[in-house]
Point group: C2
Chain length 594, copies 2
């Protein structure tokens, strides 16, 4: 049975020692999040996730969700009880607005807890995860009445939410949406159409499900500019605000998927369901983007959260499994063979995954803190910078961390040898579940386009210029730190290549826009490497300062960081070399000549 | 329903135009393999694999194999009938020894047909595949009587074979084998023990199953030097050589695996089963290595065969799926959106997979021709060189092509967006099935160790020196070919880095053997890139010569090759940079400090 132990020490290191949350006590909610409070939270949460949620992971995979003839859906055995506990423990409301019953604590703390949920049970985590996305949209563009009506029950988790974008003919290209909204005399709309791949679209864990649905009001302009957003509750609320009449929305089927079997991926049929416009007419995409951007940060987290749990299990296996002797001489003469962790290539896979995962966590928590600052800071400059960084790094975090997280699952599986391919060891599930993270909330290719096509250019390039300047400043500030030198050198080299790539794009993307698309994947990878190089340098700086302390954690952190610089960061040059070859060869074949 | 069309034109290009099989008509069997015969064979085989075997692929995945209470195993519906046709078509005996009923045709032709089987249905392909491995061992070390007894029926496919190595406590480290062989007065042995992960260990497609089993004769030396190989037939043969008494070997269970559900992965229990020693006492590993080396080449083929079929389906999807407009302007104004093949990042995934797959095929066929030469050449120098190349390149082909093949499946899945994650589209199965190829027949990590620890050093480094010299010769011979210049430059750079890495190993592996292990993965990758660079340069040379001809194939080949040089080959530098950092950081953490 696979294990999971929340990496609490690493979380504490980031929250207390690297990000120094205590320095932000001027922000609402941060003063309440003292180190003691955070530690107690992490401790309790870690126990619950280890003991309750982890064992349900394989249950979810084996059992899946079941749709019954009446369209109702049953989640795997134990999910409902676990969800009740999840709600009661307040794990879903940590950073939610206190005005609607949330705890108002830092988003970055919510990320630490959400990471545990995702590592322990990806499928389960999606139920509250999708709900949080729906709440964000309601919070951002809903009327006061809509917020008062829906947010309190969603904050407690009594109701959950969904996002309904995709239709059979439209995924990325939401301008192709056909779902219709017909205005009614009472100001409501009748929503009709079919949505597919709706995660948590129907289930048995909540009293109501609040669907956010993109549809086109009759007579609206064509394309993306005619899309509006609607609230469509599973049960229409009665005069007391309680679930009343069943709405004309139902689950028409469940997808058979590669993974995340414990989450109900629904075909949702809207047959003249009652819907309420949220935000302005024809401006549905605006709300959707608000919801999506923060959701994408959460998906990036799922990437390294998957490699974290896969790594933990591979590490245990590598310490237990006895096979062959160390090439440098027998290490355990009393055993029939040495544990495979003595073999360099096994360590390579473990260290690759560890170095990526710890870097991914640091980058994500840093970004989550930017989310806090973007919402809560009173300093306009700080707020703008946080917004810029969120916008710039979100596609990088979503795509790079999921791609590398999936790779980490694959490497961890490889540590197991043949057992990795046998389902009961659980490594297959980690890969199969994590694989969706490269696809949903905008495929990784779309993230790369968002980065090169939108985020680099926005506000005259201010986002990346500010970010690059911060890297430069860090490097020059720490120029005299001899222990930090390899980190600074590695970072400067990667950042130099990233700058060169950025300039290359500036010179070549205008002449031929396909150059931007052709470069986008490698550019995003180069950006991801540089961003991880930056957080690793920051972590190393702290670890160097504290390495004299009687805690072996700092020494391990420094070695892991050094490994990142030596064994992962050198990939940057290949990405630069590739992207500079441009679009010509890539686009040269006629479709029929493939 | 996923499709598969055998890439016959590409196979013909390699067999007729690059490898020029007609130049080897002095070798036994090659004179019979005229271009016409080969073309007819490929054509017929392509049709059968497309029409019969491809549709059974998903059946096998969904239905899997079933073990019944009596220990018998039923293969998925249709497999047995397809296997009968496979046998009747002679697809399993193409390169087998005519002395035992084989067709005696070139191994490289068998590879082309085996590739089709593997692409169309990986699970199915393993039944004849394992059989071929067992036949190789019997052919190599069996007595004349053993060959006469077993090979004819195995050649026709009436009987199949297996390889029984792994036990619960021993995978890579076969010295830990516990299965026992007790000598009997009649010269036979009683075999007892449990073997796991035995592919095709029990099934309903053949009249007998000939198990090759590694076991330890009572009183044998400890470790690897006390292992012997035995023939253990499912049915002991009667006086007429027909299956008679049921032997005391049975399937105790089937593994639940990530993929290859259509192949029965068995726990095999030997309860005093009658076995016959094959080869010398305590020299079982020698036979096993003969069998394994050629089998590993076949596994490398499975790698690119998987990405071939995944690519074909992704290509069809990319031409059909309409989503968003080309960034350079609408391409299909009459459609609601452009097909996604217009988008550069979709092309990147297609071209990556295409460039790898065609290179992998070329490298594998070249190696298969070396296998022919190593068996059939009368020229001792040619024979030795062929043997050297086989020894050197087999671990590279096995590991690099499976790793990249799995990556190709992942990229092809990504082209599908959300549909890639939905089982009915079939992309998940291609990945899940292919994933085993990185693990079995020696994990890819073991291949890398074999390369740096054994093959580089063998015969004073003769293997790699000969191979590198051949690359140098090709490059200087074609120095004046302007069209070929980018290929030669790319190849020379990669080869230069590979040489540097080889020299680094020479200088550092003696001082600390962990440096070899720590470098092995990146060294193998660097070798794989260089080897693909070499075959791409050779293919490009032919395509350049023929590009004036009225066949668009040559132009596509050149563009694809150029893509390989621009977009894949640059990875070589990163591998060199990584491996030169040595073992120190990788090995620095104590096991408890992870």
């Amino acid at each position: 049975m696979p294990i999971y132990n929340a990496p609490i020490r690493d979380m504490q290191f980031l929250l207390h020692e690297v990000l120094n949350l205590q320095n932000y006590s001027n922000l609402p909610g941060f003063a309440d999040a003292t180190p003691d409070v955070i530690d107690a939270f992490l401790e309790e949460s870690g126990k619950w996730h280890r003991d309750v949620l982890t064992p349900l992971n394989r249950v979810g995979d084996l059992e899946g969700c079941k749709r019954h003839d009446d369209g109702s859906v049953t989640t795997p055995k134990g999910f409902r009880q676990a969800y009740d506990q999840f709600r009661e423990n307040g794990f879903g409301s940590i950073a939610q607005d206190p005005e609607y019953g949330g705890q108002g604590l830092p988003v970055v703390l919510a990320y630490a807890v959400n990471e545990m949920t995702s590592s322990a049970n990806h499928s389960f985590a999606m139920y509250p995860g999708l709900s949080a996305g729906a709440m964000r949209a309601i919070h951002a563009v809903g009327s006061d009445e809509q917020k008062q009506t829906y947010l309190p029950k969603m904050t407690t988790g009594e109701w959950t939410g969904t996002m309904n974008l995709t239709e059979p003919q439209c995924g990325t290209d939401l301008g192709l949406i056909r779902s219709k909204a017909v205005p009614q005399e009472d100001g409501t709309f009748k929503i009709s159409g079919q949505k597919i791949w709706i995660s948590a679209g129907e289930h048995d864990m909540a009293d109501n499900i609040i669907h956010l649905v993109l549809a086109r009001i009759e007579g609206a302009p064509d394309g993306i500019k005619g899309i509006s957003l609607f609230i469509v509750p599973k049960f229409i609320l009665d005069e007391n605000g309680e679930p009343g009449t069943r709405n004309a929305v139902s689950c028409g089927g469940l997808e058979e998927k590669m993974g995340i079997h414990g989450n109900a991926t629904c075909v949702m049929n809207y047959d003249g369901a009652t819907g309420y416009l949220i935000g302005e007419e024809h401006k549905g995409m605006r709300a959707m983007f608000i919801m999506m951007n923060e959701a994408r940060l959460g998906v990036g987290m799922q990437g390294y959260a998957a490699s974290e749990v896969a790594y933990q299990n591979a590490l245990e296996f590598a310490k237990d499994r006895l096979q062959s002797r160390s090439i440098t001489g027998t290490k355990f003469p009393d055993k029939p063979a040495d544990p495979i962790i003595v073999h360099p290539d096994v360590r390579r896979m473990l260290m690759d995954t560890k170095a990526f995962t710890e870097g991914g966590r640091a980058l994500t928590y840093w970004a989550a803190l930017q989310e806090d600052l973007s919402h809560k800071s009173q300093d306009e400059a700080e707020k703008q910078k946080a917004n810029d960084y969120m916008a710039l790094l979100t596609p990088v975090i979503k795509a790079y961390l999921t791609q590398k997280g999936v790779q980490g699952c694959q490497d961890a599986m490889q540590v197991f040898g043949g057992s990795g391919f046998v389902e009961e060891w659980g490594m297959s599930q980690f890969y199969r579940d994590a694989r969706i993270s490269m696809i949903y909330e905008g495929t990784n290719g779309i993230q790369a386009l968002d980065l090169v096509g939108r985020k680099l250019m926005a506000d005259g390039g201010r986002y990346w210029q500010t970010y690059f300047a911060e890297i430069d400043e860090f490097c020059s500030d720490n120029d005299g730190n001899a222990d930090l030198k390899p980190f600074i050198e590695g970072l400067m080299k990667a950042k130099g290549e990233l700058l060169e790539a950025t300039q290359w794009l500036g010179m070549n993307a205008m002449a031929n826009p396909d150059n931007a698309g052709a470069a986008s994947h490698d550019y995003l990878n180069l950006f991801g490497l540089t961003a991880l190089g930056f957080v690793w340098a920051q972590m190393a700086k702290v670890a160097i300062e504290k390495q004299g302390e009687d805690d072996p954690y700092y020494k391990s952190k420094l070695i892991t960081g050094k490994y990142f610089v030596e064994r992962i960061l050198p990939e940057s040059s290949a990405h630069l070399a590739k992207l500079k070859t441009g679009a010509e060869t890539m686009m040269a074949l006629e479709a029929d000549a493939f």
